[in-house]
């Protein structure tokens, strides 16, 4: 239907159709049925070749079954006995050419693969009066396509693809042969403008029978999908209808449109075939839920929860080392730093860390399974509605770098600043205060000790300063100890909150890094594949629109 509506009334822009076809094939390379791709490439190549050759000439081929009278018609049109005619079947075994208007035709005839000795050259200056109207015609007499000689059929198959205008010569005995309709005409559906049918040998029938026969042939051609192809009746023996055929050919030669029409029909046919190989619309891409699920699964497999917990523990331990009550700080040295055990410890320089692997535990089978399921989810969502080969390509794109996921995740984990390197200023200040308090307590203790020693020796009690009635050394000692313990426990509380915050920050940073890995290794390639499909689809639309 679409083909009926377009094309005929305007000149299709063949060059841009060919460019679009090339773009389609380049983008869809390996993602479409190789047979269809092969046909499309052949059409593109052939069209390019034909366009470089003489546009002043129109190549017309007489094709048909053995004994239908191709050679007789050929001779009648060329006005000479060029092609041998006989009763033995098959008669013509090599394609025969006759060229009107020699200028520039030689490369064309060579491209057609017709040997020079099989070619007759009609110089226009010889009998201008009679033959001038065919100036620019290259007429081919093809061998048969249905005899026991297989090589004839191969030659016909080759030339049917190359010529600009096809004239199928049929006779009343054979006009309904499967060999003609199934092998050739049905495959030329859409080539109405460059297909002409000639019912020859009408002299063997009475006029009424000939008309009935032509009507039946018309019906068969319509069924073949060539409803607008022209049908003529001739008799090469009596000469009836030959002039009309000649006029039709002269008309085609004069208008010089057959070449273009033929190539446009070829491109449209393969473009129609290609359109089944791409989806009507490219899928919208990867949705939020699939991406979130993938990042979630990757985070699990990269050990984000384990690291987060280690960050929290490590922060608490370190805070205890700074904020804790100095006399009991040594206790924490008995507990190992969990981050250091993962080889992500604070203080290790990141540049150095980048060279080694972390000791984050290998992903468990469950985590690996979750990653697999998530990647599958991404592939499914992205490939929704695409033809199978494209879905396969999407999956390949996702799998292609999936094996690097483990390493890349580890590198990301190592490179990520977990935010545990820095020691907060208030820690240091508090640490100093703690030491000062210890010093004060020691001072108080020493002072009290001296006082006690003096009293033991019954020395006169020196005047000890007091503060609101409390003795200063006692205040120093008790205040130093109690305050130190208080600050240590308040510090521990604060550090616990801080540790939870650190953990959240570290996890968020890791997650951002992992999102980047997911985008780079899975989502990016998948979206590139979708972009490729979009390129192929739009280019194909252009190829079809002309």
């Amino acid at each position: 239907m679409s083909r009926l509506l377009r094309g005929r009334h305007r000149r299709a822009d063949l060059p841009s159709m060919l460019i679009a076809l090339d773009e389609t094939l380049a983008a869809a390379d390996g993602r479409i049925d190789p047979e269809v791709a092969g046909r499309a490439e052949a059409v593109a190549a052939r069209a390019g070749e034909r366009l470089r050759l003489s546009g002043e000439h129109t190549v017309v081929a007489l094709a048909g079954a053995t004994g239908s009278g191709k050679s007789s018609l050929f001779n009648a049109l060329s006005g000479a006995d060029i092609s041998p005619v006989g009763v033995r079947r098959p008669t013509t075994s090599r394609a025969q050419a006759c060229v009107w208007g020699v200028e520039g035709a030689a490369p064309l005839v060579e491209w057609l693969g017709v040997p020079r000795r099989q070619t007759a050259w009609q110089h226009s200056d010889l009998d201008l009066a009679q033959q001038g109207d065919l100036e620019g015609l290259v007429l081919l007499d093809l061998p048969d396509h249905d005899s026991t000689a297989t090589e004839h059929r191969l030659e016909v198959d080759r030339l049917v693809d190359l010529v600009d205008l096809l004239v199928w010569v049929v006779d009343p005995q054979k006009y309904a042969d499967a060999a003609l309709h199934e092998r050739y005409l049905r495959k030329l559906a859409g080539h109405d403008a460059v297909t002409l049918l000639v019912l020859n040998q009408t002299d063997t029938l009475n006029p009424f029978a000939a008309a009935v026969c032509a009507e039946d042939l018309r019906r068969l051609i319509d069924e073949d999908g060539l409803s607008r192809a022209k049908l003529m009746t001739t008799s090469a023996r009596t000469g009836a209808g030959v002039d009309a055929l000649r006029v039709a050919l002269a008309d085609a030669v004069r208008r010089r449109r057959a070449r273009n029409d033929r190539l446009v029909a070829d491109v449209e046919a393969v473009a129609d075939e290609l359109s089944a190989q791409v989806a009507e619309a490219t899928p919208a891409g990867i949705g939020g839920p699939e991406r979130t699920q993938l990042v979630q699964a990757l985070a699990g497999s990269a050990g984000v929860p384990v690291i987060g917990e280690a960050v929290e523990k490590s922060w608490q331990l370190r805070s205890a080392g700074v904020l804790g009550w100095p006399p009991t700080r040594w206790l924490r040295k008995l507990r190992p730093d969990p981050l250091r055990r993962l080889r992500l410890g604070a203080g290790e320089r990141r540049e150095v860390r980048a060279m080694v692997r972390s000791s984050v535990p290998e992903p468990t089978p469950v985590q690996r399974a979750q990653v697999e399921t998530a990647v599958r989810g991404v592939v499914d969502a992205a490939g929704m509605g695409l033809p199978p080969r494209w879905q396969e390509a999407v999956r390949r794109a996702a799998d292609q770098r999936a094996k690097d996921l483990r390493d890349e995740l580890d590198v990301t984990v190592i490179r990520t600043d977990l935010g545990v390197d820095r020691t907060p200023m208030w820690w240091r200040l508090t640490g100093v205060v703690q030491w000062l308090l210890v010093a004060a307590a020691l001072l108080g203790a020493g002072w009290l000790g001296l006082l006690a020693f003096g009293s033991y020796l019954r020395l006169p009690e020196p005047k000890t300063p007091d503060w609101h009635g409390f003795s200063v050394p006692t205040l120093l000692f008790l205040g130093g100890v109690l305050l130190g313990l208080l600050i240590a426990s308040v510090g521990r509380l604060l550090a616990r909150r801080g540790a939870r915050r650190r953990r959240r920050h570290a996890e968020a940073r890791l997650r951002r890094g992992i999102e980047e890995v997911a985008d780079r290794l899975v989502i990016g390639p998948v979206e590139a594949e979708l972009a490729r499909h979009e390129t192929a689809r739009t280019a194909l639309d252009r190829a079809r629109a002309g």
Partner: protein, 563 residues
């Protein structure tokens, strides 16, 4: 000349072959499937239409089928031989669309009943229905011979070609009609070559020869016939004439008519033609049935191949789930964290204290708005197992589905369906199976603890606590754990094991763990079996007999023995 005692075994063997060929299933679109289906139809038709009826009655009239390309003048020739317009002739191609059988009135009994061509509906009028057979009685046809006008073999109407092929296989003799314009056409020669291989008797009529071309064309055709092994076939030339009232002039067809009459009246010659063609047909059967048997083998191989793909994929999946759930690695990650909460929040220890602890826990849980760690641990185990089964099922489906899709036979079975994912119900089914398994483990613990109900320890942990510990023991086999975790996860299972042993006794714990593990294996196996059945059901539905090829070859051997 009815079927004698000596031909009874042969008849039985052929009947058996016929049944086997008809029953043969060729469901897969393999490279040779289309050819195999045609061959199956062809052999079945030839057995029913020709060999069996002919073998039952060797004295039946000779059936000569008039065959040739469209427009060769077959109908005109038959009309002229009969002397009446029994078959429509005309310029439209193809002219004849159903078969016309002309015979002597005395032979009517042979053809009225469905002895030959039982598949065709008898009628007395001409029609264009390819499933009908028009019977015409004519005294001008010699008794003992029947002429069958067949549709063409090469026109666009494919029903014609099929009918012609069927009629040709049913005939005792071919009268092959071609024309001066057509005698080199490829399609008819393919048919003639088939006649040569089948040993069918052939007479050739070269029709519509233009004046003056007779000698050249006749010589050329004779050469071609000799080249194809038909040098001995009689060749009749009919010149191009304008038919008068649809009939050829009498003198033109006289040589052919004379030959046919000679054949019909001489019983010995007739019997020779019949036996020659029949023997040839039976001889040619062997090769064709062997080809069919090869195709049947290919179909059976395809079934085996597809089944192997599915079995490999799902067996691997089960092994994968088993390995992952048995090596302790399931206890890492989420499960481990939940275990630590379970132990760390003191739920385990508090459980020791008494029911007060449990009440307090519930209150705390309600206030905190989160479930008890014990529930979370059970859930973590459930999600873990579920993720494992789902990924394994997806991978197996992907593996088997892709293998099927790349296989033409598999493609046939899949139709348009894509089975490369686990079934949509799988997630739900897995969750249910894991919950049921957990219930089963609790039940086991309850049974084991039957006699110990009263002990303080049993009461302290309750069935649920012990059940969770049993599950931990099941999943914690060995290995798979690294450095820091080993201590904790290993500790988790060691602690669980110790407590369980203390409550239930160590032999009981070992038995319990083994039983629970076997049950989990069984349940996962059932789940995967359900997944697998999406493939195997399709395989079973096609019901390809794997011994069909062997049986066909044996049938041929039987026929050889009976001959």
């Amino acid at each position: 000349m009815t079927a004698g005692a000596e031909s009874a075994p042969l008849l039985a063997a052929l009947e058996r072959l016929g049944a086997q060929v008809t029953d043969l299933r060729v469901p897969f679109d393999l490279a040779d499937a289309e050819a195999a289906r045609r061959l199956r139809q062809e052999i079945a038709d030839q057995l029913d239409d020709y060999m069996l009826p002919r073998l039952r009655r060797l004295d039946a009239p000779v059936l000569a089928v008039v065959v040739g390309p469209t427009g060769a003048g077959k109908s005109t020739l038959v009309n002229s031989l009969v002397g009446a317009r029994v078959s429509a002739a005309g310029v439209l191609r193809p002219t004849t669309r159903s078969a016309v059988l002309a015979h002597h009135p005395a032979d009517a009994a042979w053809f009225d009943e469905r002895r030959v061509l039982p598949g065709l509906e008898r009628s007395s009028e001409s029609s264009s229905d390819p499933a009908s057979l028009q019977l015409v009685r004519s005294a001008r046809i010699p008794a003992g011979l029947a002429l069958l006008d067949a549709p063409d073999i090469d026109s666009v109407v494919s029903a014609n070609r099929e009918l012609a092929t069927q009629l040709l296989a049913a005939a005792d003799m071919w009268i092959f009609v071609t024309t001066a314009a057509r005698y080199a056409d490829a399609v008819p020669w393919d048919f003639l070559r088939a006649a040569v291989t089948r040993g069918t008797a052939v007479a050739v009529v070269l029709d519509r020869v233009p004046e003056g071309a007779t000698d050249e064309v006749r010589a050329d055709l004779a050469t071609m016939l000799t080249e194809q092994g038909l040098g001995g076939a009689p060749l009749f030339v009919v010149p191009e004439t304008t038919p008068h009232d649809g009939m050829l002039p009498r003198e033109v067809i006289e040589p052919l008519r004379g030959w046919l009459h000679g054949l019909a009246t001489d019983a010995t010659v007739r019997a020779n033609v019949v036996r020659h063609t029949l023997a040839g047909a039976i001889r040619s059967l062997g090769g064709r049935v062997f080809r069919l048997a090869a195709s049947a083998d290919a179909q059976a191989d395809a079934v085996a191949r597809l089944r192997r793909e599915v079995d490999d994929a799902y067996d691997d999946a089960l092994i994968r789930v088993d390995a992952a759930s048995g090596d302790g690695s399931l206890l890492r990650g989420e499960v481990l964290a939940r275990w630590q909460e379970f132990v760390g929040t003191g739920e385990l220890m508090r459980a020791l204290e008494s029911k007060v602890g449990r009440v307090r826990d519930r209150v705390t849980s309600a206030l905190r708005g989160r479930p008890q760690p014990g529930t979370e641990l059970a859930e973590a185990l459930e999600t873990g197992v579920e993720a494992l089964v789902r990924a394994a099922a997806d991978e197996a489906a992907d593996q088997a589905g892709s293998a099927w899709r790349d296989d033409p036979a598999g493609e046939t079975l899949l139709g348009g369906d894509d089975l490369r994912h686990g079934s949509p119900e799988l997630a739900e089914a897995t969750a249910r199976a894991v919950r049921e398994w957990q219930g089963y483990v609790l039940e086991l613990v309850r049974e084991q603890g039957q006699g110990k109900r009263a002990t303080a320890r049993y009461l302290a942990f309750g069935v649920n606590g012990l059940g969770l510990m049993a599950m931990i023991v099941v999943f914690a086999h060995t290995g798979g754990l690294v450095a820091g975790e080993l201590a904790v996860a290993g500790g988790a299972s060691a602690l669980s094991q110790k407590i369980l042993e203390a409550v239930l006794g160590d032999q009981a714990v070992r038995d319990l763990a083994a039983t629970a593990r076997a049950d989990l294996h069984r349940r996962v196996g059932l789940l995967l079996e359900g997944e697998r059945s999406r493939f195997t059901e399709r395989l079973d539905a096609v019901a390809v007999d794997e011994n069909a090829g062997t049986a066909l070859r044996a049938a041929v051997q039987d026929i050889e023995d009976a001959r």
